[in-house]
């Protein structure tokens, strides 16, 4: 995890260094804002178990069952980066969303009604990535990848950090031309995320899509 965080941090440092050393003539710096939608994932199934009296059975006595899931959620993504070649674009990005962590409570030993218990999670992604563009026309397909750190704060809770590594692709379309062109950018990603607010210890792969506008200057 720390290696990946360092990689993400190094990416951000590289980006800052590249921006700082940008030739004055290049129109290569870009900022963008997008609406993002991140998919949900299973966050663990755990039984509330009691120690069984051996004379009544051999398996633990389950008081109730929990099945948790982080629900899909919309968010806002902003990025800033620069082209280091005609095809290669490096960027740092930040994404904010508020998914819900939902735990379904069922199979109560004493008959408590099934219930969904929720909490809202504030999720902050700080990342860096690279984008490779295939063409330079009006429609520009690209592939991208990156890594970052996710900081999640359950309602009333403390910060939980996890690692986010993602890869995907999308398309850009120029809307205006000139000195500070506007464009559209759409992207689909597969995100590999280590344990965060979930109750299991496994990693998760979740989809995300985003669409927004870019501005180059």
């Amino acid at each position: 995890m720390s290696v990946r965080c360092c990689a993400a941090s190094a990416g951000l440092v590289l980006l800052i260094a590249l921006i700082a050393s940008r030739p004055a003539s290049a129109q290569a710096i870009e900022v963008g804002v997008a609406l993002a939608f991140t998919g949900g994932y299973g966050a663990g199934s755990v039984a509330a178990n009691e120690t069984r009296n051996p004379s009544t059975g051999s398996t633990p006595l389950t008081l109730f069952q929990t099945d948790s899931r982080v629900l899909s959620a919309p968010g806002v993504n902003v990025h800033a980066g620069m082209s280091v070649t005609r095809r290669l674009f490096v960027f740092g990005d930040f994404q904010y969303s508020r998914p819900r962590l939902r735990t379904h409570l069922s199979a109560d030993f004493e008959g408590a009604p099934d219930t969904n218990a929720d909490t809202t999670v504030s999720s902050y992604l700080f990342g860096a990535g690279v984008e490779y563009r295939f063409t330079a026309g009006t429609w520009v397909p690209f592939v991208s990848g990156g890594a970052g750190q996710v900081r999640e704060v359950p309602e009333g809770g403390e910060v939980l950090t996890s690692v986010d590594v993602h890869a995907g692709g999308g398309v850009r379309r120029a809307l205006t031309h000139g000195r500070h062109p506007l464009g559209l950018r759409g992207e689909v990603l597969a995100t590999f995320r280590s344990r965060g607010v979930g109750f299991d210890s496994s990693h998760h792969v979740l989809p995300s899509v985003s669409a927004g506008i870019t501005w180059r200057f």
Partner: protein
């Protein structure tokens, strides 16, 4: 006291007054009303607890075997970190383990009249401070006992029962983290439990010597340092039914990340409850009525304990922070019928 069924009979003497109280973090503890009228949690103020063991052999359990089992049971509690619990075996004695004689005595004693009581703990307390001055534990020799490592069919395991009684000796009350069933011939049998302090013992022949998170939370609530309190948190709120407080509800906080279950009770008419000594994390809350077979095993029967409501979950997950209190929770329940 560990019983064969949920029959609660206080065995006390001297200046001991047993009650149930809650402190800042509200685990169910034994309390006493001291001379200034306030209710305080009883506790030892100094360690080690210097104890004697009765010099009396029982069929299948010699006095040295009893002492070794008691020593292991003490160490089970002393393994809870950062509390500073300690004990010291002083020697064997002919003094009865229920005498109020200034000694801490643990041993067998004949109580055929207590046909449902396996063991009991009694105290002599300082009526000003609530400090435990001495405490005795008797194991009822009317029952067959064993110290076999894996238990022995038809006999009660000495170490399992002594671990429970030592919880009382340190100041803990009963936990309600357990389920029972009615037996056809009368009485109740425990099906499962998540606390060594559940008042009903497993069936004879079983071994049940380990502490659960509920026990660790409870003993930590009494003896933990300020550093422990700064590292853990609590949940407070109210259990309500039709807008009114519910007294005597058992509230369980469950952490799906660790599997830990820790219980608390609503101990006032407004239904207020607290569950303390919780590791930071996200919790599920559940409220249930006390076992209607014998609610007096947990709380004083002089209280107006409400048993007429259905178990229910809180529809929010509750997050606990280090040193923090998640408060303002209203856990609504509905009548059974």
């Amino acid at each position: 006291m560990k019983t064969l069924r949920a029959a609660f009979a206080v065995v006390a003497f001297g200046v001991a007054v047993l009650a149930l109280t809650r402190g800042v973090d509200a685990y169910l503890k034994i309390g006493t009303r001291v001379s200034n009228g306030s209710l305080v949690t009883i506790r030892w103020s100094t360690f080690p607890i210097r104890y004697f063991v009765t010099n009396r052999d029982m069929p299948g359990v010699s006095a040295p075997q009893l002492q070794q089992a008691v020593d292991r049971a003490f160490h089970t509690w002393q393994a809870v970190p950062n509390l500073g619990l300690a004990s010291q075996f002083v020697g064997f004695t002919g003094v009865a383990p229920s005498g109020g004689d200034g000694m801490n005595v643990i041993g067998f004693e004949d109580h055929p009249e207590l046909d449902r009581v396996l063991a009991a703990t009694s105290f002599t307390l300082d009526t000003v401070s609530g400090e435990i001055l001495n405490s005795d534990i008797f194991l009822n020799s009317a029952f067959p006992w064993s110290v076999a490592d894996a238990g022995e069919a038809g006999k009660q395991d000495v170490e399992s029962i002594v671990v429970h009684e030592l919880g009382h000796m340190h100041g803990l009350g009963h936990s309600a983290l357990g389920e029972t069933e009615l037996l056809a011939g009368g009485g109740r049998r425990v099906i499962g439990e998540a606390s060594i302090m559940f008042p009903i013992a497993f069936t004879a022949g079983s071994v049940n010597r380990a502490l659960h998170p509920d026990d660790v939370a409870g003993i930590s609530d009494i003896y933990a340092s300020s550093a422990f309190r700064a590292a853990t948190g609590s949940i407070t709120g109210h259990v309500t039914k039709n807008g009114s407080g519910v007294l005597g509800a058992h509230v369980v906080a469950f952490n799906p990340a660790t599997g830990a279950m820790i219980g608390g009770f609503s101990l006032s008419d407004d239904g207020s409850f607290a569950v303390g000594a919780l590791d930071p994390g996200t919790y599920v809350l559940r409220a249930e009525p006390l076992d209607d077979g014998d609610p007096g095993a947990f709380l004083s029967t002089s209280l107006n304990i409400d048993l007429n409501f259905q178990p229910a979950f809180f529809d929010r997950l509750v997050t606990v922070t280090r040193g923090g209190t998640a408060s303002g929770i209203e856990l609504k329940v509905v009548p059974k019928s």
